[in-house]
């Protein structure tokens, strides 16, 4: 077996040093009733060529996004990732190292985390950020529970513009912790009904911009209303590239900003691994979940970085920790940081403008298709449209034309009664030809 270095002779010698007659003697504490005497019913070992063929066989049954016109968004976005990003993250020193608990020999990882935190704070317009979370949805749930710790109140109001999966995750996790979750009805202009729901028991209000229908909102007024009531405003963003064009959550008064960082540096990966971004006001830092990297000096006074404020964390505080989180999303955060270093201020702004431009082109083309109504007026790179029939059936129809037209809203929230709504995203990878092909195919399908 190519991954196991011991030879039969090594094993015999080592048993001799241990003083054990055979390998079974080392497993003698296992109760006899539980000892497997034969192999489990699975295939035997296989060579690299055979395994690669097996995996390629699974892969071949899928249609990759890049194989044709593709318009899915709704929390995961197809962007171009420069080749150097994937090259660097595969360096052994990044790929095969552990959490940087020994800072003397982990300065590479730690400095990257410090850069990552600085980038996330800048993007969100807030003072501090942590070293990443599992993904945007779990970051959202953690933010809600953080608001409970800060305000000592139990109620969270989730806007109807929040991604339904994010709402479900928050409901599951924060509810288990004893919070009351008020989930508002899905609507394009959901943000307009948030302020009326805020009361003296409200710990936080969660709004998403651009929201799940692509609608961009200035949430400053919601921030003011929340703050007047002593509640926190949590702003969620599922498309991190939008930070390059839109006003930041911090500028609009957010106390906590969470986002899905997949768009920068990370592939679609059928949903994971992704990277959750989490930032907040400096005064709230001690209630933050997750790992934090901080600057300090070594014994000789040289600048260095360490994991810090770990008295919030489970390995020190156990049942009194701010969160049970141990692992973060280190390698995805590294990819994010490298891609964003390549982009820089200039590149991110241009990338964001380009995404917006492609989405305008998409919206204009779809507005010309008879039977299609473009619902989202002010958007970043994603729009909702109304179709004259079930969106999921039309999407399936277009698959035969080699077009993946978007995400039917009913797939995210079947109970919303919006079966005719389709969500579509355009990015820098979307071409004019892709848009023309979609418009033509839709015309054809709807005209039948």
């Amino acid at each position: 077996m190519r991954y196991l270095p011991l030879t039969p002779d090594d094993r015999a010698q080592m048993l001799g040093v241990i003083g054990a007659p055979n390998i079974d003697a080392l497993f003698k504490d296992v109760p006899e009733a539980a000892r497997l005497t034969k192999l489990v019913d699975l295939p035997r070992y296989a060579g690299e060529l055979e395994v690669e063929r097996d995996l390629a066989h699974f892969a071949a049954k899928n249609r990759p996004a890049g194989e044709g016109p593709f318009f899915c968004g709704a929390g995961a976005y197809r962007h171009h990732v420069p080749a150097s990003v994937d090259h660097i993250i595969q360096r052994s020193e990044f790929l095969t190292s552990y959490t940087p608990y020994q800072p003397e020999i982990a300065q590479g990882t730690l400095q990257v985390l410090f850069e990552f935190q600085t980038q996330v704070a800048a993007l969100t317009g807030l003072e501090v950020a942590n070293a990443s979370m599992y993904d945007g949805s779990t970051a959202c749930a953690e933010a809600v529970m953080m608001a409970q710790r800060v305000t000592r109140r139990e109620k969270a109001i989730l806007s109807g513009g929040l991604h339904p999966h994010y709402a479900a995750v928050t409901q599951t996790i924060a509810h288990a912790e004893g919070m009351e979750i008020v989930r508002q009805t899905a609507a394009l202009d959901a943000e307009s009904s948030v302020i009326g729901a805020i009361d003296a028991d409200t710990a936080c209000v969660v709004v998403q911009t651009p929201n799940v229908f692509g609608v961009v909102t200035d949430v400053s007024a919601i921030a003011e209303a929340a703050h007047r009531a002593g509640a926190l405003l949590i702003v969620v963003t599922t498309e991190a590239v939008s930070f390059g064009l839109l006003k930041s959550p911090g500028e609009m008064g957010a106390d906590i900003a969470v986002a899905e960082g997949q768009s920068i540096g990370n592939a679609l990966n059928y949903g994971g691994p992704y990277v959750g971004l989490f930032a907040c006001r400096e005064k709230l830092v001690r209630q933050m979940p997750g790992r934090l990297c901080g600057e300090t000096v070594d014994a000789e006074g040289r600048r260095g970085y360490v994991l810090t404020l770990s008295t919030r964390e489970q390995h020190i505080r156990r049942e009194k920790a701010t969160s049970n989180i141990c692992t973060n999303s280190g390698l995805c955060a590294l990819a994010f940081t490298i891609h964003l270093s390549l982009l820089g201020e200039v590149g991110l702004r241009r990338l964001a403008a380009l995404n917006h431009s492609r989405a305008r082109e998409l919206a204009a083309a779809l507005a010309e298709v008879p039977g299609v109504e473009v619902l989202t007026k002010r958007f970043f790179n994603e729009i909702a449209i109304r179709l004259p029939g079930r969106a999921d059936a039309i999407v399936e129809d277009l698959v035969t034309d080699k077009i993946i037209a978007g995400v039917p809203f009913s797939r995210l929230d079947p109970a919303a009664g919006m079966d005719d709504v389709l969500l579509l995203a355009a990015t820098e990878t979307t071409t004019t030809q892709d848009i023309a092909a979609l418009a033509a195919a839709l015309k054809g399908t709807l005209g039948e």
Partner: protein
């Protein structure tokens, strides 16, 4: 052919050793240079990505557009490579040497797995594209689930949890839902051994349960009498790691399960140490109700400097109906995905994350399992246990095993009795290992052993590397006992940095880079 060496010396002259107080003129240490932060490299107007001009503007967004500077620095591609490659050289990694972090299973990460995860059919797949266009992805997840169920002897598995602690949360939420469905919602206590991972009590508290500790016997196992005394109508579950964090198999595990079940409690097993028993013991045969499997430990997906992980949870018949959405179902023609937790009268407790879980990790773990097969995986457990016992046997003469009687499983635990009166602590000893070229072992965990040193070599170490490691530790142990205290107090001497001041970092946290308020800024203001 011979080279002309006219005028060029071909042998070293001089006798200076590298560390005899030599300093470079510019502050660096040879090829290992200080590397500034990205933001100090000055690329405020620079980019390493070429993009076309947008055809349409953002006038439609009006006042929603960000006008103030974001504060991002940019670099060209060569500068980016150099910056991050230089940083990488300050990290230790499995590919450099044995990485004996107990409880973390730092094994080799096969590169075939990386290649497979990057196939376009997996990496370039959107989580919400029509399931008819992602049949291979669902089939792979289903196949991986089959392997996990077969290896653990459990009937069901929830695939979506994103890490071990996330899996623990998923398992406890299943247990909570099952109790509530059975009218047992008043059970709100979780029993946890004192040796448990910190995530266990943290997770229990997270779901609103209170935590009661179970005592440990002198031979490092759960104290059955104490467990039985603490069980009762208020107990929702016990959480036991097996093999436990002392590196020992819980001999009475079947009895632990039996009495817990007799008292109406579920048995959550922390599967962090599954590597020791894979292919030789099935948790399902032990009476386990739920167990998370860290794919980044047992099944070799890379740790990546702290994630991403993946933590699927295998479940018993009693808990399976409460597993979270989404889940995969077999249809007449292939596979479908049930994404709505309230669908089809399901009892699912909810949802753990936005999409289908860590697909990239599923591909890697499946490639690893398929490579080993049933026979190879059994050999994994045997070699992991053999390697740990070999290290324990070789070091036992100089260092004190916490539990000298009988074999250990995949990790060898030592206490600091042998360092008494040497003036050297566990921390000092661990830092001195860095100077000998090894990552320190897990220290001061489990909490039940004084000055704990937990060594997990894993099965992917050769006998040669194990001997190199043991020789280094024995030499250090001899030095500690001989009174060479300076070697330890100042350690590490040969790392990129010396020991870092964690107190200063926590007292006035500096968590992001900010421009120095310099004279230029004052002028501008």
């Amino acid at each position: 052919m011979s080279m002309s060496n006219v005028g060029r010396p071909t042998r070293p002259d001089g006798t200076r050793s590298a560390d005899a107080g030599f300093a470079s003129l510019t502050g660096g240490r040879g090829l290992l240079q200080d590397e500034p932060l990205l933001f100090e490299l000055g690329g405020w107007d620079k980019t390493g990505v070429d993009l076309p001009d947008p055809e349409r503007d953002a006038a439609d967004l009006g006042e929603l557009v960000r006008t103030a500077p974001i504060g991002l620095a940019g670099l060209s591609e060569p500068e980016t490579l150099r910056h991050y490659v230089r940083l990488s050289q300050k990290n230790h990694a499995i590919d450099l040497a044995l990485y004996p972090l107990g409880s973390c299973t730092m094994k080799h990460n096969p590169r075939l797995n990386e290649k497979a995860a990057r196939m376009a059919g997996f990496a370039d797949l959107h989580p919400l594209q029509p399931v008819s266009t992602a049949q291979g992805a669902l089939e792979l997840i289903d196949r991986l689930a089959h392997w996990l169920k077969t290896l653990t002897g459990m009937p069901a598995v929830a695939m979506t949890p994103k890490a071990g602690a996330h899996g623990e949360l998923c398992g406890l939420l299943c247990i909570k839902a099952a109790h509530e469905a059975a009218g047992q919602g008043h059970r709100r206590t979780v029993l946890v051994p004192t040796s448990a991972h910190g995530t266990n009590p943290a997770t229990a508290a997270f779901v609103g349960y209170s935590v009661t500790e179970i005592a440990q016997t002198a031979d490092g196992r759960v104290d059955l009498a104490d467990l039985e005394a603490k069980l009762g109508d208020h107990v929702a579950a016990i959480m036991v790691t097996n093999p436990n964090t002392c590196g020992l198999f819980e001999r009475d595990v079947i009895e632990i399960a039996r009495i817990s079940h007799a008292h109406g409690a579920y048995f959550y097993c922390d599967g962090a140490n599954f590597n020791a028993i894979v292919g030789r013991v099935r948790p399902g045969d032990l009476g386990v109700d739920a167990m998370h499997i860290n794919l980044h430990k047992t099944f070799s997906t890379p740790h990546g400097g702290g994630g991403p992980g993946a933590g699927p949870v295998v479940l018993s018949e009693a808990l399976a109906p409460f597993a979270p959405a989404p889940w995969i179902v077999h249809t007449r023609t292939g596979f479908d995905l049930v994404e709505d937790a309230t669908a089809e009268a399901a009892q699912a407790f909810g949802r753990m994350c936005a999409f289908q879980g860590q697909m990239g990790m599923f591909v890697r773990a499946y490639a690893y399992m398929r490579s080993h097969g049933a026979d190879g995986l059994r050999q994994v457990a045997e070699d992991a246990v053999l390697n740990a016992n070999y290290v324990k046997a070789r070091l036992a003469g100089q260092m004190t095993p916490a539990f000298p009687e009988g074999p250990c499983m995949h990790e060898a635990l030592f206490d600091d009795t042998w360092l008494q009166d040497s003036g050297v602590t566990t921390l000092d000893f661990a830092k001195a290992m860095i100077d000998e070229g090894f990552h320190p072992m897990t220290m001061y965990f489990p909490l039940v052993v004084h000055g704990a040193m937990l060594i997990e070599p894993t099965e992917t170490e050769s006998k040669r590397e194990l001997d190199r490691f043991c020789d280094a530790l024995l030499a250090l142990a001899a030095a500690a006992k001989a009174g060479d205290v300076d070697r330890f107090k100042g350690a590490p001497h040969l790392a990129p940095l010396g020991r870092l001041d964690e107190t200063q970092a926590a007292r006035k946290p500096k968590l992001t880079w900010r421009p120095e308020p310099d004279a230029g800024a004052a002028d501008a203001a």
